[in-house]
Symmetry: C2
Subunit: 521 residues, 2 copies
């Protein structure tokens, strides 16, 4: 661990903020922070020939059709690397792609300002992130959809920090459109870095934003520039403009972050039937091609920089053209991409998603489908795992709380002690002791284990109907709303050294005075 | 196929009832009837040593502790078979158990009165059944929980028949307590056999009920006694009284059905921490012991009779003692039991379950967890897959409709065409044709495939928020309620020969005149 991280740790824990964190935790009894290990064998729906066929299709796309790179530096670099450039179209041979992809590590860490919240990406680790980037917000109290504000964004960041089952902070949990776009990144990053201490994301939306965010993350971590670059402290996620195009701002951020050794996630948005073929294998092949060429670029710029392959392959509703999520086709595409990610030796990102507009039954079966697909696919980073509605157009705190209940259960599901087959767990002596017609409530074997034996929910209501009715007959989203209000009401931010907070505030003030970032790209 | 079945088929299809069935189908566009094949490799959480350890624990329970069989004939038969009988306690050696279990077929069929609805149980087939046996009912219109009535039961049977994704009719979908218990089985079976034509269940609740139901199924199928016994036409499910006891009525029905070669499912209800050890491996081992001894009895009575091993292992809420369902522990216990069922070469039954009291988000994440556990465990029969609430104490038509949406998606998920990696599916030519920045909506490759490319929901609302709001902002359970009312309103029963209907009615009248079944056991 770098000196900076140790220094950060030294400043934490005591005084007002320490007590606050403990107070905040008491709102609900939640599972502890941990890096869950996915102990299940992935579902691999492709035959070895199928893997080969999808790989060949992706390579054919890269070799024969090519991808547009709308960035002059990227084109120059790829020309130097031996790719065939025709205008903005770049074709690259499979040998080059595979040579570059092989340089990416199978596993890496991101160390946020609180090193206790360091995350491992790759291998069997499975991490969950909050909802990112909806323009709108909905909650039970409002009862309607409204454009996001800074306060809504802050409240969702508080949930992001509060829940131990959320490992990283994605993009803005809702876009605060009440802040001007030129300075939005400054205010939100100030909020993110003071309200949370988890691994942090920067939008690749132009040079100024990326540089500002990297600088703010460096300041918040109390790091020198060397320390910042020594190991990933943050990450970005870029989306190709499917089909077959990488836009300038995305590429610019991608290359800047690559040069400084930060985490890189590339996630094509290949909706089958719209921006990709109507057939899932075709949509997956196209998605892989779009992702792999960006990874090849990053590896050429800085060999060994950590890269993650993302999938967002789903299908449209062929009646309306609307995107659908958590569908059977979505699940299979995620699993197929997982199988291909292992073929390429790359960590995988997928998502927790739904098309539902409110946090009801549909929202939960669609989200459950997508979360289980993430588990089954061997996904390492699950974006949007808490709080997403309406295909990503709405962020909802109730949905956030509901999703965290599901996520905690998935994390508990991964604990190997459930599967213990030791003589004590087989409990033949306890069965003998109780005998026919007895019960296990009172015996020593139960007494010794019952407090930790089973998952304990914070939101699920397991009482019978009469007890539930007597307590007000409260449906799940209303219960989630109350928990959301309690958490936000009791929230106190994680510890931060006053000097660092001042330095962050000064940076924001200076950059605002300079006009922030251009908004005309 | 037996002559009786052919005769039945001849009577179907034409005239009034045929038109009715077609009209009924038009309420929603649903997936066609099919026997889904589970193409995923099961999740096997146990090591080979773990399998051996659980097997040994189950055998130790059977050899050393023993199970109580509260039935004199069963005791006599098991004594003859060489088991050690001590009062009602039966101990049996592992050689005997394994020899008997090996006689059970790995796969069998049940042929209902409509042979087009024949089901295959075992192998990779995965079948879904309706909710069974709740004493109470809840729907959106009532807004409260009430004891079941015959009308509620009939409406749920109409849903059972209507949905193609439901393959078999379990017990009464709600207990109609407005019919006296002595004749309840006669009225409900008349309703079941006239409102549905799917594979049928008999409660093992005493000699008269079992014999009456077998006779009614025989009459409804237009079968001779020989035809009825030639191949399974129905099935029963018995539950042990955990821990370690089989009650008289259950054993009586079990043995009667065994002698006549019908399907036999045994499902211990081993709630970890209450009727079984607090440790999941112990609860699974106990469940296996309780199930295997009943299967050994059946195989001794009629070698080769089809048997299914059931699991209902879950955990209690250790705060309240209330049963919990769809939990992480439930999922793992189901997977472990699936792994053991394959070890014994037996088909597996599990369930779609939840603890939620209303059809909200909690209901759907708990049910999704249990349904995915069924898929992951290689379950062949999924009981209670549609309509269950409050840990099985409430049947709900809205939940039924919502569950069918999820079940249809699981069945679609199993269709291998999603995974097609042929050159046409890889669609490199289509990707070339569209090029960078184009879209796939209009091209021939899409036009040729779009109507069947993706799962089409009947309940999920994929419209954006504004369109959904303009259409009344209807949440999922309300949408499900409307669909339920429409289906029941348009329902017409499947075709049945008038002579057979009269014969059934006569049988019911005669048995009622005789007093039905005793109610004092």
């Amino acid at each position: 661990m770098a000196d900076g991280a140790t220094a950060t740790r030294r400043k934490r824990g005591g005084g007002r903020a320490g007590n606050a964190a403990r107070r905040g935790t008491a709102v609900i009894e939640q599972s502890p922070w941990r890096i869950p290990v996915n102990i299940d064998r992935p579902i691999e729906p492709l035959t070895p020939e199928g893997v080969e066929a999808i790989h060949n299709a992706a390579m054919e796309i890269l070799e024969e059709i090519g991808i547009e790179f709308l960035h002059d530096d990227a084109l120059a670099i790829l020309r130097e690397a031996g790719c065939t450039i025709d205008g903005q179209n770049v074709r690259m041979g499979r040998d080059f792609v595979m040579e570059m992809v092989a340089k990416a590590p199978a596993e890496f860490t991101i160390t946020p300002r609180n090193p206790d919240h360091t995350i491992t990406i790759g291998g069997k680790a499975i991490l969950f992130g909050n909802v990112s980037s909806p323009p709108n917000y909905w909650d039970m109290e409002l009862g309607r959809k409204l454009p996001g504000t800074r306060e809504m964004c802050q409240n969702l960041l508080k949930l992001t920090q509060y829940f131990n089952c959320i490992h990283f902070a994605g993009g803005y949990p809702v876009e605060p459109v009440d802040i001007h776009a030129s300075v939005r990144h400054l205010d939100v990053l100030y909020d993110k870095l003071t309200l949370t201490d988890k691994a942090m994301h920067a939008y690749s939306l132009g040079k100024e934003r990326v540089e500002d965010v990297m600088e703010m993350v460096r300041i918040a971590g109390g790091l020198s520039h060397e320390e910042f670059e020594a190991t990933p402290r943050m990450y970005t996620n870029i989306n190709s403009t499917s089909p077959l195009k990488h836009d300038e701002p995305m590429l610019d951020g991608w290359m800047r972050m690559a040069r400084r050794g930060q985490g890189l996630v590339v996630t094509p948005f290949t909706l089958a039937g719209a921006m990709a073929p109507v057939t899932m294998a075709g949509a997956v092949a196209q998605s892989l091609a779009e992702a792999l060429c960006a990874i090849a670029l990053a590896q050429y710029i800085r060999p060994g920089v950590p890269c993650v392959i993302g999938t967002f392959t789903s299908n449209v509703d062929m009646k309306s053209g609307a995107p659908a999520f958590g569908t059977p086709e979505y699940m299979r595409a995620t699993q197929m991409t997982g199988q291909m990610a292992r073929f390429y030796g790359l960590p995988l990102r997928s998502s927790g998603v739904c098309a539902a507009n409110v946090p009801d039954g549909q929202a939960m079966w669609e989200t459950s489908n997508s979360l289980w697909a993430a588990v089954q696919s061997g996904t390492n980073m699950i974006y949007h795992a808490a709080g997403w509605l309406e295909g990503g157009l709405i962020a909802s705190p109730e949905k956030f709380v509901m999703d965290c209940e599901v996520i905690q259960q998935i994390q508990r599901y991964m604990e190997p002690e459930i599967l213990d087959t030791s003589p004590e767990a087989l409990a033949v002596d306890a069965i003998r002791e109780v005998g026919a017609g007895g019960h296990f409530f009172g015996i020593q074997h139960t007494q010794d284990r019952y407090t930790a034996a089973f998952y304990q929910p914070f939101l699920s209501d397991w009482r019978n109907f009469e007890a539930w009715e007597a307590a007000g007959a409260v449906w799940t989203p209303e219960r989630a709303h109350r928990i959301y209000k309690d958490i936000v009401g009791a929230f106190e931010p994680p510890a931060m050294d006053d000097g660092i907070r001042d330095e962050l505030a000064d940076f924001v003030a200076r950059r605002k005075a300079e006009g922030g970032a251009p908004t005309d790209f």
